[in-house]
């Protein structure tokens, strides 16, 4: 195949530009090496990262001694600093894990024990009255709760995009629309082939999300494979800002998933989550029974929650990793799903396979872990003397003090022109998002919030499409919603 392309050389190739790939790239950029990221899609954070609750956990859910526990506690402690460096909004609102009976109360005690052993600070088990005083809208049937003051929420795209921008500013070469079709070992490293390029890399960091098992198996025999499940979520309008003040986890008395409520940094309220099987190769989509199950759970846990305020629903894919064995020519799960982060390091190929909760919050730790492994293969290169961990964050007008906002507009009148009425997003912010790499409507939405509110882009779609067309110098008919084939208009 593509023998006609000349080979390009890099030290470290990252496959996949989700939040993990972006943080791996950022950590590698701190070394004095060349880093190339191959992403099959047109933008960062379009896979598993795009559907995530955005919860930053404290580490009381993870078994002491596990990699998850160690990274999660470390991430939770350092998250304020990371968000300051990257200019990302972070709300350490705390969480309550609710019990409605003895079985769940046992779970709370177990997690309290995990948390203490892991060194999580501030954990307390609260009685019914204390829970109701903190969150009066919780059902009075509640019997106890585990309070974790360190839990927080972020916007998952904001974090991933910030890591991308910072990695790029530090010299990482991001190649979009580059689907890896072949990889082989060769002298001094690996040859990676996409439909358009051939790249020789000395080490490969596989952050390919749902495809990370397949990418690894281009070189290795199957060991861990991903069997995804899906979760349904409902987004409620920011008219409900303050309905609950903490992240709410509900540990059900009976088998199955409980309710999760997340007050997002945007002021909306996220209601989740179900768990169900998905057909192989599915990109997702919500499920009718799943959504009905959520409203049933809400009626039990937060009976006054007006689900009529919903503005959208979405599904998230959980990339569950399983050790596999061969049976009759098919690779089948050998055991229950692997409970810890799975990081395989095989002669220069480093694979993150099936990283799920708390992977978002641990993205920086995981990235640094990969970079340390990669550095070993690269003969421990020195630090990049020009590395700057600080990102110049984009202007976000909404919530800005009035005098600061007036100053922004006086420097660039485009920031005075409001395009998205629901989210209070200006033309200036949308143009800036396009300059920073948004190439689709959803790319603009993830960067600015335009189209994410109650009217769901009904009022701003035309203006955003025109800005995208102008910024990329393409006809407006070529603007996509979210990736290949998602054209918004007919020619």
């Amino acid at each position: 195949m593509s023998g006609s392309f000349s080979v390009q050389y890099t030290d470290a190739a990252v496959v996949g530009a989700g939040v993990l790939g972006c943080f791996a790239a950022r950590a590698l950029a701190a070394l004095d090496i060349r880093v190339t990221v191959l992403e099959q899609r047109e933008d960062v954070c379009t896979g598993i990262t795009r559907a995530n609750t955005g919860i930053i956990y404290t580490g009381c859910d993870n078994r002491p001694g596990s990699l998850k526990a160690r990274m999660c506690v470390e991430a939770s402690r350092s998250f304020d600093g990371l968000c300051r460096d990257l200019g990302v909004r972070f709300d350490r609102c705390g969480s309550l894990m609710l019990a409605f009976g003895p079985r769940a109360e046992n779970v709370l005690r177990k997690k309290m024990g995990f948390g203490r052993a892991n060194g999580v600070e501030g954990l307390r088990i609260l009685g019914r009255d204390e829970v109701l005083a903190m969150e009066p809208r919780i059902s009075s049937e509640v019997t106890a709760a585990l309070y974790a003051p360190g839990t927080g929420t972020i916007d998952p795209w904001e974090l991933g995009i910030a890591a991308y921008e910072n990695a790029k500013a530090n010299g990482v070469d991001f190649r979009f629309g580059q689907r890896l079709v072949r990889m082989e070992r060769e002298a001094g490293g690996f040859l990676l082939e996409t439909d358009e390029e051939r790249i020789h890399a000395r080490t490969v960091i596989n952050c390919a999300g749902l495809s990370s098992d397949a990418v690894r198996e281009m070189l290795e025999i199957p060991a861990v494979r991903i069997f995804p499940t899906a979760a349904d979520y409902i987004v409620l309008d920011d008219t409900l800002r303050g309905f609950v003040k903490h992240v709410i986890f509900h540990e059900p008395e009976e088998k199955g998933k409980g309710l999760t409520l997340v007050p997002t940094v945007d002021g909306t309220l996220l209601v989740g989550a179900t768990e169900r099987e998905v057909p192989a190769g599915s990109r997702g989509g919500t499920d009718r029974e799943g959504l009905q199950a959520l409203s049933g759970l809400c009626a039990k846990v937060v009976p006054g929650l007006p689900l009529s305020e919903q503005i959208r629903n979405f599904s998230a894919l959980r990339p569950n990793p399983y050790h596999v064995v061969e049976k009759g020519g098919v690779w089948v799960p050998a055991d229950r799903s692997v409970n810890d982060f799975t990081i395989l390091s095989e002669e220069g190929l480093i694979s993150l396979i099936g990283i799920k909760t708390p992977g978002l919050g641990c993205a920086e730790q995981l990235g640094r872990h990969c970079a340390a492994l990669a550095a070993g293969f690269l003969g421990n290169p020195g630090p990049n003397p020009r590395f700057d961990p600080m990102r110049r964050a984009p202007v976000r007008l909404h919530g800005m003090p009035e005098d600061a906002r007036a100053g922004v507009i006086s420097r660039d009148p485009d920031y005075g022109r409001i395009v998205c009425l629901c989210g209070d997003v200006s033309l200036g912010e949308i143009k800036d998002a396009v300059r920073r790499g948004a190439v689709t409507l959803d790319g603009v939405k993830r960067r600015t919030g335009a189209g994410m509110g109650r009217c769901q882009s009904a009022r701003c779609m035309k203006a955003v499409m025109e800005t995208l067309a102008e910024g990329q110098r393409i006809p407006v008919e070529d603007v996509m919603k979210d990736g290949a084939g998602s054209y918004v208009l007919e020619k």
């Binding site: 499920d287 009718r288 007036a406 507009i409 005075g416 769901q456 009022r459 779609m461 007919e490």
Partner: protein
């Protein structure tokens, strides 16, 4: 830090559509100083994208398109003393001291006029000191605060959309509200698709079915949960019957199909429960309008009543069938100010 008031007007009209223009014109004729603020780049509101006729039968005894109807008001506004700011958005409305009636016992209704001779009407200085009403505006001139005596909210309505219906399925491209479809086609001259399913058979859906058909697009079906089409008899006759639009009654859409671009919808017959696919490349939703009163948030008194200086008119007061009645009511309101 808050920025200070740098401009004053007697009447602030928010929204330069049918309601806002009529209210502003009447208030101006009544000798008031009027500032008319429009979010969009031009006056006219939703009328600008209405290329069909049926406007002005009552107001002008003529059958006009929405654009023609709007143009008459736009030229009247432009010829008047009304100050117009287009491309300008009101971010918030506030009343200083409104939440502090105990601290400022001279506020309206305190009943202490003797002790505090500064109650409303007794002197400008005290009122403006304690109950100054102002709006924060963002536009090409910058961010600035305007104080006013009375405010007309004429922000129209927004459309219910698929998100609020709680439908299961994927979220591909090719799904539009009727208003967005109308805006893209009517004002942008753009083509939204070829084979269209319309969800909701009310006036807006029927008018768009006609517009799609006239533009050479195929309306595969209109899907309506009731057992009869909604809307005006006129539209049933002139849109559905005249263009033989297929309507599927007692049916809902309860799933979206397709990745990338929409490939179909899952319809469910409410009587039999049967679910079946309808192939299409575009879904247009016309499932209701919601008065847009976002700016009223936080201004309601404890009993839910809006302050006396804030007047709703047009579709943000209630959704109207005919623009002629919007103009008439707004004009009456403007005269009273």
């Amino acid at each position: 830090m808050k920025i200070p008031v740098t401009e004053k007007t007697e009447i602030l009209v928010i929204g330069g559509g049918a309601a806002g223009m009529a209210a502003a014109l009447a208030a101006c004729r009544n000798g008031k100083q009027v500032l008319l603020v429009e979010h969009d780049g031009e006056l006219g509101g939703i009328l600008r994208q209405c290329v069909h006729r049926g406007f002005g039968l009552a107001a002008f005894r003529e059958d006009l398109t929405g654009r023609e109807y709007a143009a008459r008001f736009v030229s009247a506004v432009r010829g008047s003393d009304i100050t117009v700011r287009t491309g300008t958005t009101v971010l918030s409305l506030e009343e200083e001291g409104s939440g502090d009636e105990d601290a400022f016992p001279c506020a309206e209704g305190s009943g202490d006029e003797d002790a505090f001779p500064c109650a409303e009407g007794s002197g400008d200085g005290c009122i403006s000191r304690f109950t100054e009403r102002s709006a924060l505006l963002s536009g090409p001139e910058g961010l600035y605060r305007v104080s006013f005596d009375q405010c007309v909210l004429a922000t129209g309505c927004r459309e219910r959309n698929l998100g609020s219906l709680g439908l299961a399925g994927t979220r591909p491209a090719g799904i539009f509200t009727a208003g967005t479809a109308q805006q893209l086609m009517g004002r942008g001259g753009l083509c939204i698709g070829r084979r269209i399913v319309i969800l909701g058979c009310g006036d807006f859906g029927m008018i768009m079915a006609r517009q799609f058909t006239l533009a050479g697009l195929e309306v595969v079906a209109m899907i309506e949960k009731m057992d009869h089409p909604g809307g005006l008899a006129r539209n049933r006759k002139e849109c559905l019957e005249a263009f033989r639009i297929p309507v599927i009654l007692r049916t809902v859409v309860d799933g979206i199909l397709g990745e990338g671009r929409i490939t179909g919808v899952m319809a469910r017959d409410l009587q039999t429960g049967r679910r079946y696919e309808i192939a299409c490349d575009t879904l247009v939703t016309a499932v209701g309008l919601i008065p847009d009163r976002t700016l009223c948030r936080g201004l309601e008194r404890a009993d839910g009543v809006l302050p006396s200086w804030l007047h709703l008119c047009g579709n943000c007061e209630s959704v109207h069938d005919l623009v002629d009645s919007v103009s008439r009511e707004a004009e009456a309101l403007g005269r009273r100010l």
